[in-house]
């Protein structure tokens, strides 16, 4: 029976305990329940009282397709509210092979204590001095760890941004190609781990017990149905593998909803130069990989490997939101510069959305010229050093806006908005406003109905229907994150009659616990309730569930629409 591993980062003691009140929870449902139960909502996010928890989903360890996502939970340094950040990579599927359901990092060493590498085996945790890799970028640090612990080791680590407690700091995870290219990206979880002086976590390659479904026959049947659903939908079987998420550059631009020049316009003149089609063309020409999985069992394969002009690996998982943030919102036209910035974010361990938006703020504040990719690269390479400008950039949008005197600040609850202007995609705008996470597209992707015609067709330019779709998507997403599924599976599920039942069947046959569609929905609802409860106790009110004023007063061309949902209307999206 999988256990919870609690590690005290000050005393270096650890203990394995039964799930107790966290039984039947996984992924985000577990991380949010634990943070809501155990972390004082009004504590400082970098204090000893904050905890960081990593949990695989209910299907972690299984061979169900696209079920290996990891949830990382904490009180967020960026937002001051509860945070669940989600990552691909190999970590989630490894934990059950060590009889571990979740790992909780507690307490905090003295501020002058050295950074540690934790080596976790089935029944033991070793603290080792991380001196050799402190200050290193993530790729070389990861290489050193694999050289020391074997190339089957699975690693989580913070880069220079996390070591220096930047609010944009990520935790990076080993991917199937033995690179630290998968991120728990949003909300600054890397700063929480950095505050506890943890530089890296190594999961022992020798701890590898087999894990089996509780009901083997039922699981095999459900697994086959699930693969058929994913392979039967054009988005998950063709669109995403062929072009990755970067296909959205042209789509969202064509829809007049791609935020450009710090959310001033809805279309970008150079969209074609930074598009998914252009990216795929360059990848092919330079011998990269147009599609690759982000974790074991991923059959959607929307990631890719992007090589530089000399044909050498530069970055992978080159996402729409990253290309948008640097390419449209900060006006950088050169895909190679954008790819270099993506790589720098992986190296320093920074959220690409928050870092890219902070760059747009720096440009808006006249600190560097609009669209200047080379100067942006030079600046971002300094994150994690004592360079004052780079320190500001590492702290994200609100911090940078104050430093540079910029009033145009596209954030909710302290977290900046991704890649879809809420004035023209009101479904995702409702999610930005109301999710406990702050502005987060992945918490309830109304773009599906507003632009992509998946799961229905609701006009993103109008209010009607958008509170309802956001709420339904938020519940569904919380459930998906709790089972450990990739969120992109939702494209197929939204259109498949038997999609939700297939997910429930997988969980029931894998865990051996009764799990109906109602249980699945309740998993999502109760998770959201935990998150909303924490945030209320942290001081958030319905006034925090609203978009910044300029979205309500300034029309977005080409549609010339504004954000027109009221505070009270928005409360309809809460659980």
């Amino acid at each position: 029976m999988p256990r919870i591993l609690r590690i005290n980062t000050r005393t270096k003691e650890y203990r394995f305990e039964e799930l107790g009140q966290y039984a039947n929870l996984g992924g985000r449902a577990l991380t949010s329940r634990l943070i809501n139960t155990e972390v004082p909502a009004d504590c400082h996010p970098l204090s000893a009282e904050n905890k960081l928890v990593m949990a695989g989903g209910l299907l972690a360890g299984s061979t169900a397709a696209n079920s290996g996502r990891l949830s990382v939970g904490a009180k967020s340094p960026l937002t001051g509210g509860i945070k669940e950040s989600n990552s691909g990579g190999l970590f989630a599927h490894k934990l059950p092979k060590m009889d571990i359901h979740a790992i909780v990092f507690e307490d905090k060493p003295e501020s002058d204590a050295p950074f540690q590498t934790l080596v976790i085996s089935t029944d033991k945790v070793e603290f080792k001095d991380a001196g050799e890799i402190v200050g290193m970028d993530n790729y070389p640090a990861h290489d050193k760890l694999l050289a020391e612990y074997g190339d089957k080791a699975i690693v989580a680590l913070v880069g220079p941004a996390g070591e220096t407690l930047r609010q944009t700091a990520t935790i990076q995870f080993t991917d199937p190609y033995k690179r630290p290219a998968r991120s728990a990206g949003r909300g600054g979880t890397g700063a929480v781990l950095g505050s506890k002086k943890i530089k890296a976590i190594v999961l022992d390659p020798a701890s590898n017990a087999p894990v089996k479904p509780a009901d083997n026959d039922a699981f095999k049947t459900a697994r086959k149905t699930w693969v058929d659903i994913l392979q039967g939908h054009p988005v998950t079987s063709q669109g995403l593998p062929a072009y990755g998420t970067a296909i959205l550059v042209n789509v969202v631009n064509e829809a007049g909803a791609m935020p450009t020049k710090n959310f001033r316009y809805g279309q970008c003149d150079h969209a074609a130069e930074i598009s998914g089609e252009k990216m795929a063309e360059l990848i092919e020409a330079r011998g990269g990989k147009v599609k690759e999985p982000c974790h074991t069992g991923c059959i959607i394969q929307c990631s890719q490997q992007y090589n530089d002009k000399d044909g050498n690996y530069l970055t992978s998982g080159f996402e729409y939101e990253t290309i948008w943030a640097y390419g449209a919102n900060a006006l950088i036209k050169d895909l190679d510069d954008i790819a270099t910035l993506d790589r720098i974010c992986d190296e320093k361990g920074m959220d690409t959305i928050e870092a890219g938006n902070a760059l747009a703020i720096a440009m808006d504040g006249g600190v560097i010229p609009w669209g200047d990719g080379k100067t942006a690269i030079e600046l971002m390479r300094k994150v994690g050093t004592s360079d004052a400008l780079a320190q500001i950039m590492g702290n994200g949008v609100e911090f940078a806006a104050k430093a540079f005197g910029v009033e145009r600040v596209p954030t909710v609850k302290g977290q900046s908005m991704p890649a879809y202007d809420p004035r023209a995609v009101k479904g995702v705008g409702v999610t930005y406003a109301t999710t406990a996470m702050g502005a987060d597209h992945t918490a309830g992707y109304g773009v599906c109905q507003n632009i992509l015609k998946v799961g229905g067709d609701v006009d993103g330019l109008k209010k009607d229907g958008n509170v309802e779709i956001s709420k339904n998507l938020q519940v569904a997403t919380a459930a998906i994150d709790s089972m450990g599924f990739c969120l992109f599976a939702a494209f197929a599920v939204l259109d498949a009659e038997n999609g939700v039942q297939a997910m429930a069947d997988l969980v029931q046959s894998w865990t051996g616990n009764s799990f109906s569609i109602d249980d699945l929905v309740n998993l999502g609802v109760n998770c959201m309730k935990d998150e909303q409860d924490f945030n209320q106790r942290a001081g958030f009110t319905k006034k925090d569930d609203q978009l910044p004023r300029f979205f309500r007063t300034e029309p977005l061309p080409p549609h010339n629409v504004v954000w027109d949902l009221s505070e009270d209307e928005l409360q309809g999206a809460k659980a």
């Binding site: 063709q238 296909i247 789509v251 064509e254 992509l452 067709d457």
Partner: protein
Amino acid sequence: MGIEIKCFATLSRFLPENSDDHPIQAGDTVESILDRLGIPTKEVNLIFVNANRAFLHTELKDGDRLGLFPAVGGG
């Protein structure tokens, strides 16, 4: 002047030669243009005309910009 046609992603192979200024006839709809260009309607999932959501029955007029996509996702 005609219309501007953009065929994205896997539909790019259907892009006509004169895509920047494609002549149209009175009463042309998205569907009639797809038919003339040999684009199977089942391959087209997203249609935009001048940044607005459009449909097979949407009528086109000179100067319009028509954007066509297959089924795509991301996020």
